[in-house]
């Protein structure tokens, strides 16, 4: 049975029945999986599944779900999260309507893979049974003959039966040859792995060199092959070449199926002395371990923890080694055969390091803190000893927690802090640090629980409220944040940063007067600063001109009207302002600054976007494009720092321009006629902006030769002017022109009916004739 023939026939049929998109996705999904493009797999799968279900194609659904699991389980080792999916798919693929689907066989592999990813050696018996049972149902002509055979051999290898695995694979090759299949599988990577384990390195290399003959397997397989090549070369003692062949961590990191070979390869390179064993390597191992653990890939996580322990021991990082050992021991609890890890030997090694690591200490905790080295593991070693000597010193507790977090040991950092606060319920520094860690990890519920349980006491309440407010801010819960900050200010009216934060929040919530009140308080108690800019923003919105001028003076701004009264309205140069539109997207427009925090829009948006021309807006004076200022640009960029124009976010529209934009397009009627049209439109309250230049030209449709000057313009007119009236006025104003002008958007806005139809035909005809 050739699954790919079925896939190809199905795609053809889907296309013929109008399901082209589904057919495309069927093509793309396996490619994306094999290329380790798992982000894009996730982008595609929900849509493909929904299309397959809508088209009532259960076989295609099996195909898509299988490939999704290939990505999620076989490549990404998300065994825990998707075990239920694999069981569901098995059940689905064995229903009456699906069991004949050729891909149904493969879902067996998805379920077996969940167990092999979770704890391969622990489930050898079951996996062998499943693989044998499945191989009994197919012959070598099936593509899954290859995959299931590899799964069988992997199970044997997980039981350390490498020679048996080799023999089994050879038997499978013979079976395929005997069956006369055109594309005999050679199982190169599986066999090289087994040969390496058996120490038959030369044979492994010979086979490796043959790998070109193996069929293409995409970018993911390339990485597998590179890792194996690294390991084989290292085993051959060719360490420099091995290092050359080694893929980078960035390549490997997104896909946990490469982790095991990667750490084996690293280990071989460390042994060869061609790679530095440093704290960053430790962090890499921890990153991979954490991912494997989150995924419920227990055996892999335990192996990674064991490697991390071993490497940390080798570089004398006792704290990290002990943490990794504890992880190894903890993770072993998930394994059916923990003896495979060799924890005892690791424990001995860690204890030996503990004897070695005795850093010198300063005489008091403050000195220790001041003289810590920058390298986090080294700092941790010192802190570890300092803590033993001054166990109650709170700043040391906090520094140790930060050091642990820097080495990727966040859980230990949290545990240390929790232990400290358990005995010292008033430890403000430790509690705050704990809160920060929870906030950084996005564990908002845990943060709330911490604050409610431990930060209600008098000295701690304000800190607790600050943490809760920060959490609300992260979640964009403005009301909750404002509530916490208000309560905080009741407790501590002099708290400046919270007051400033609350003022900004009130501005965002549209509570401008409240914002101004807070900013007034800040202006009274603080030297001039950012709060004065915010104060001017709030003051402009509520029309508090005295406060605006007060802050301007404090900031030593100078402008016309500074000493007058009433609104400030004086030209202050060009800027750009950013509007957030209804759908959340934004548009930027040029504007004329009229006060330090106020501007009038002078750029038309055009008919296709919301029009803001002539809007008078108040903005936040912190430019959004500071990073563009003074950047080194390439030679062909004419812009330089001097041309930089600030871009400000609009906070409030003080007075909308009330205009709507329409376009005019056609042949230029000559200066006189155009001026009179412009004059008439201006008399209607309009503003005209000619967008075209002398290069815009048409060919006279009458002779097909003469070039005519074109004109394309925007005209902004009062919103309330009805399209019917505008249409009639434009017709009257352009009557008698030799060549016509059209106004497509006006026509589209006409009330449905004969006039609109006629006008639309007219626009289409003119546009076509003049190639507008």
């Amino acid at each position: 049975m050739d699954i790919w023939r079925w896939v190809s026939a199905t795609k053809r049929e889907l296309r013929q029945s109008g399901h082209g998109r589904l057919a495309d996705l069927m093509s793309e999904l396996p490619t994306l999986v094999c290329d380790d493009e798992h982000g894009r797999v996730e982008a595609v799968v929900p849509e493909a599944l929904a299309l397959a279900r809508a088209a009532r194609k259960p076989w295609v659904e099996v195909f898509i779900r299988h490939w999704a699991l290939q990505s999620r389980v076989l490549h990404r080792y998300e065994a825990r999260e998707h075990l239920a999916d694999a069981v569901e798919l098995l059940e689905f693929a064995n229903r009456e309507e699906t069991r004949q689907c050729p891909q149904s066989i493969c879902v067996v592999q998805d379920l077996a893979a969940c167990y092999s990813c979770a704890d391969g050696p622990g489930y050898v018996k079951e996996r062998l049974a499943v693989a044998s049972e499945t191989l009994g149902r197919i012959d070598p002509s099936w593509p899954c003959f290859r995959c299931i055979s590899i799964e069988h051999a992997d199970a044997l290898r997980d039981d350390e039966l490498h020679a048996e695995a080799l023999a089994f694979l050879q038997e499978q090759i013979d079976r395929a040859v005997e069956a006369g299949v055109s594309d005999v599988p050679r199982f190169v990577t599986a066999r090289v792995g087994a040969l390496l384990a058996l120490g038959r390195v030369e044979e492994a290399w010979a086979l490796m060199e043959d790998h070109e003959a193996e069929p293409e397997g995409g970018a993911s397989r390339e990485v597998d092959v590179e890792l194996l090549r690294t390991r084989v070369l290292a085993a051959l003692g060719r360490h420099a070449e091995a290092k050359e062949a080694m893929p980078s961590f960035e390549v490997v990191q997104p896909t946990p199926s490469h982790y095991e070979d990667y750490v084996e390869a690293i280990d071989a390179l460390l042994e060869g002395g061609v790679l530095p064993n440093d704290w960053e390597l430790g962090k890499q191992a921890r990153t991979m371990m954490a991912r494997a653990e989150t995924n419920g890939a227990w055996f892999l996580a335990t192996r990674l923890a064991a490697f991390a322990t071993q490497w940390a021991v080798a570089r004398g990082a006792f704290t990290v080694a002990r943490a990794a050992l504890e992880d190894t021991e903890r993770l072993c609890g998930h394994l059916r055969k923990p003896e495979r890890i060799g924890v005892d030997a690791l424990r001995d090694a860690v204890e030996r390091t503990a004897d070695r690591a005795v850093p010198l200490l300063a005489d008091d905790p403050e000195q220790v803190r001041a003289s810590l080295p920058g390298e986090p593991e080294a700092a941790l070693e010192i802190l570890e000893h300092a803590r033993r000597r001054w166990p109650e010193d709170e700043p040391l507790v906090v520094m140790q927690a930060r050091g642990l977090a820097a080495c990727g040991l966040e859980a230990r950092a949290e545990a240390q802090l929790r232990e400290h606060v358990e005995h010292h319920p008033d430890a403000e520094l430790a509690l705050t640090e704990l809160g920060r860690i929870l906030l950084a990890q996005g564990r908002h519920d845990a943060l709330r629980a911490l604050v409610e349980a431990s930060m209600q006491g008098e000295g701690l309440r304000a800190q607790g409220l600050w943490l809760r407010a920060s959490s609300h801010m992260r979640l964009d819960e403005l009301d909750g944040a404002a509530q916490c900050l208000s309560e905080l200010l009741r407790l501590d009216p002099d708290a400046r940063v919270p007051r400033h934060r609350l003022a900004s929040l009130e501005l965002r919530r549209g509570h401008h007067a409240e914002a101004l009140a807070h900013l007034d308080v800040l202006a009274q108690s603080l030297p001039p600063g950012e709060h004065d800019w915010d104060r001017m923003t709030a003051a402009t919105i509520v029309g508090a001109w005295a406060q605006l001028r007060d802050s301007a003076r404090r900031l030593e701004l100078e402008f016309e009207g500074l000493d007058a009264e009433g609104p400030v309205d004086t030209p202050m140069g060009l800027c750009r302002v950013r509007f957030i539109e209804e759908d959340g997207t934004h548009n930027d427009y040029f504007a004329q600054r009229r006060s330090p925090v106020c501007a009038r829009v002078i750029q038309m948006a055009g008919p296709k976007r919301p029009e803001h021309f002539a809007d008078l807006v108040v903005f936040d004076a912190g430019p959004l494009n500071l990073d563009e200022k003074g950047d080194e640009k390439g030679d062909d960029q004419e812009d330089d720092g001097d041309d930089w124009i600030a871009l400000f976010p609009v906070v409030h529209v003080v007075s909308p321009g009330g205009l709507r934009c329409w376009s005019l397009d056609g042949t230029h009627p000559g200066e006189q006629a155009w001026s009179s049209l412009e004059g008439a439109l201006q008399a209607m309250g309009g503003v005209v902006d000619v967008r075209s230049d002398e290069r815009y030209r048409h060919v006279d449709p009458d002779d097909g030769e003469t070039e005519l000057p074109g004109v394309f313009a925007y005209v902004c007119l009062p919103k309330e002017l009805p399209a019917t009236e505008l249409h009639a006025r434009l017709r009257a104003l352009t009557e008698g022109w030799e060549h016509p002008l059209v106004w497509p958007e006006v026509v589209l806005e006409l009330p449905a009916g004969e006039e609109r139809e006629r006008a639309m035909r007219w626009v289409e005809e003119i546009s076509e004739r003049y190639e507008l």
């Binding site: 982008a43 929900p46 279900r53 069981v87 059940e91 992260r474």
Partner: protein, 605 residues
């Protein structure tokens, strides 16, 4: 018949080779034009290198539709009779190779096979040449089949070479100027030596923007010129804007060129990548799409890099470390270019976002820098239209509700009542984009219709046991687990959801599964379902925040019963429409409702 003393045999099996060349090595017979221009070009370079006398390098390509000929004339080095023997008639020993091996840059050819490609399209080839080494003597070379050739002295002519192809009838269209000029513009537009064909300026008169010493100062004109150049290489779409490709001194290779973004709407996985590659000024391949990242299905590129190695056919490139370095450089240029576009050409940027929103959602998932650039620019499809994620968060109080169902289900009703947007997770890229947004920026992802999502939406509450039991009896009986909870909106008293795990457990552990699923794998599946607690297949969340429920719990048994007659039908109305076994069939629910209302109207309740 007497053998002509000047008639000689070429030194290979040409008939066989022609077949190989025509059918395998070169994908298109047009390649012959490229190869002959290349020979002419290299000949001019050779003369510059070897001769101290000044001359004006020039290539003239001319056509004669009546005679069915195509000619290439150059002012290059020309050939002596001995060189004709050595280079024209011996496969694989082009002089260019000799010259390049001695360190001369600027030469294109390599394999010495170029001239032979001319035989693929010709019945007869004539060459007139005069070498700068011996300007007094000119030679002609002619060959009919390629198998044998004649060399003889020719009338005096200026230094240089003229090659005339008498085209085979299948290729007669190459004796017309227009298609030939178009081919020349395409293949040879970047060569240094001026190439003329028909009327008008040289086909390569204007150097591409990246070759200029001084960039065009006017930004509008600069953009327009760049667009004009890339239009020549983009057959499918109008380019929206261009972005420069330029390697930095830190890059391993020197690459220059232009990228463009296509003005055709794409969907998530559309792949319209289009890349033309020039090596030493000659177009090698116009379908080298792998040089662009896989996520850039909406882009095209024309690039030039002399570090790339063409394959033998010179129609594709060797996939070596240099190729990978060029790939990396193009990717960086694209990402940097998009960043620059956002700040420097906001109007073009908006159009790019509008046209390629879905494709960019996918791209943002592949590169963290793109995600940062795009996360607040792109929109995701929601029940309230396409919205930026920040807006979804704002309207939903910091949560990102994502549904994987097409439509329907209690969720739709729930969210309609809540008036918050629900992201349509089944559309391309929407779900992982939201997930990444929640992870990297802020917000909480709530997967509607999953157990985790349900936990978020329906916060469990504890009640005294007797009240819990009453609720269980009223709304669950034996067929559903009743969970006291509180959730919004407060005027929704209850919601019925299926318990997928309980359903799965029942199916896998049934006897019927033994009949259809093989035993070993079923055993593995049952290891999983064995860990699940046995529960009813449905769950009813009862909303304690809705005034109806506390009122019911406080009511006398009679009043409660009357109210329940009105409330219970909701179990049928608020269930998933596709549930296998509804808690209350819809007809029963409606009938119950009618009965209750009738009783109230008649004063019987």
């Amino acid at each position: 018949m007497t053998a002509d003393p000047s008639l000689k045999q070429t030194k290979v099996d040409l008939a066989g080779l022609m077949k190989v060349l025509g059918e395998h090595l070169y994908s298109s017979p047009n390649v012959a034009i490229r190869e002959l221009v290349q020979n002419a070009h290299d000949s001019c370079v050779r003369r510059e290198v070897e001769s101290s006398l000044p001359f004006e390098p020039r290539i003239e390509v001319s056509t004669d539709a009546n005679a069915h000929t195509l000619s290439f004339e150059d002012t290059g080095a020309g050939l002596t009779d001995e060189e004709i023997e050595r280079y024209l008639a011996t496969i694989g020993s082009g002089y260019t190779r000799t010259l390049r091996d001695s360190g001369h840059e600027g030469l294109i050819g390599y394999f010495g096979l170029g001239f032979l490609s001319a035989f693929v399209i010709s019945e007869r080839i004539e060459v007139w040449t005069c070498s700068y080494q011996d300007p007094e003597r000119a030679w002609s070379f002619s060959s009919r089949s390629g198998q044998s050739y004649v060399i003889q002295p020719a009338p005096a002519r200026p230094v240089g070479t003229r090659v005339t192809l008498h085209l085979a009838s299948r290729f007669e269209e190459l004796s017309r100027a227009r298609p030939v000029r178009a081919l020349l513009e395409r293949y040879c537009g970047l060569l240094q030596v001026p190439i003329h064909c028909g009327e008008g300026p040289a086909v390569n008169a204007t150097p591409p923007p990246w070759r200029r010493d001084e960039p065009e100062p006017n930004p509008v004109r600069r953009r327009r010129e760049a667009l004009e150049v890339v239009r020549r290489f983009e057959p499918g779409f109008e380019p929206l804007c261009t972005l420069p490709v330029r390697s930095t001194p830190d890059d391993a290779v020197d690459v220059r060129g232009l990228l463009w973004i296509q003005d055709g709407a794409t969907y998530g996985t559309s792949d319209n990548r289009n890349v033309s590659v020039f090596v030493r000024g000659m177009l090698i391949n116009d379908d080298e799409r792998d040089l662009l990242p896989a996520w850039a299905g909406f882009c095209g590129a024309v690039i030039e890099s002399d570090a790339l190695q063409p394959t033998a056919s010179r129609e594709s490139l060797q996939k070596d470390p240099t190729y990978q370095a060029v790939q990396a450089c193009v990717r960086e240029s694209l990402i940097e270019g998009l960043r620059g576009l956002a700040s420097e050409q906001p109007a073009a940027w908006r159009t790019v976002l509008r046209r390629h929103n879905e494709a960019l959602l996918g791209a943002a998932l592949c590169d963290a820098r793109l995600f940062d650039l795009l996360c607040d620019e792109l929109t995701v499809p929601t029940s309230q239209g396409d919205l930026a994620v920040a807006t979804v968060l704002q309207r939903s109080g910091g949560r990102l509700h994502v549904s994987q169902a097409d439509r329907g289900g209690f969720e739709e009703l729930l969210f309609r009542a809540l008036k918050v947007p629900v992201v349509q997770g089944v559309r391309y890229g929407a779900l992982p984009f939201c997930r990444t947004y929640a992870e990297r920026r802020h917000g909480r992802l709530v997967m509607v219709g999953t157990q985790g999502g349900d936990r978020e939406l329906f916060r469990r509450q504890t009640l005294p046991q007797d009240q819990t039991e009453r609720l269980q009896a009223w709304f669950g009986g034996d067929s559903a687990e009743v969970v006291p909870a509180s959730f919004a909106p407060e005027h929704l008293p209850l919601v019925v959801v299926p318990d997928r795990e309980a359903e799965l457990k029942q199916r896998i552990e049934s006897d019927e599964a033994d009949k259809r699923i093989a035993s070993a794998v079923l055993g593995l599946a049952r290891q999983f379902t064995g860990t699940l607690v046995e529960r009813p297949l449905l769950r009813v969340y009862v909303n304690l925040g809705c005034e109806v429920i506390p009122a019911l719990l406080d009511a006398t048994p009679e009043r409660a019963e009357a109210a329940l007659a009105l409330l219970r039908p909701l179990l049928g109305l608020l269930s998933e429409p596709e549930g296998d076994r509804p808690l209350m069939p819809i007809d029963e629910a409606l009938a119950g409702y009618c009965r209750a209302v009738t009783q109230i109207a008649r004063g019987e309740a």
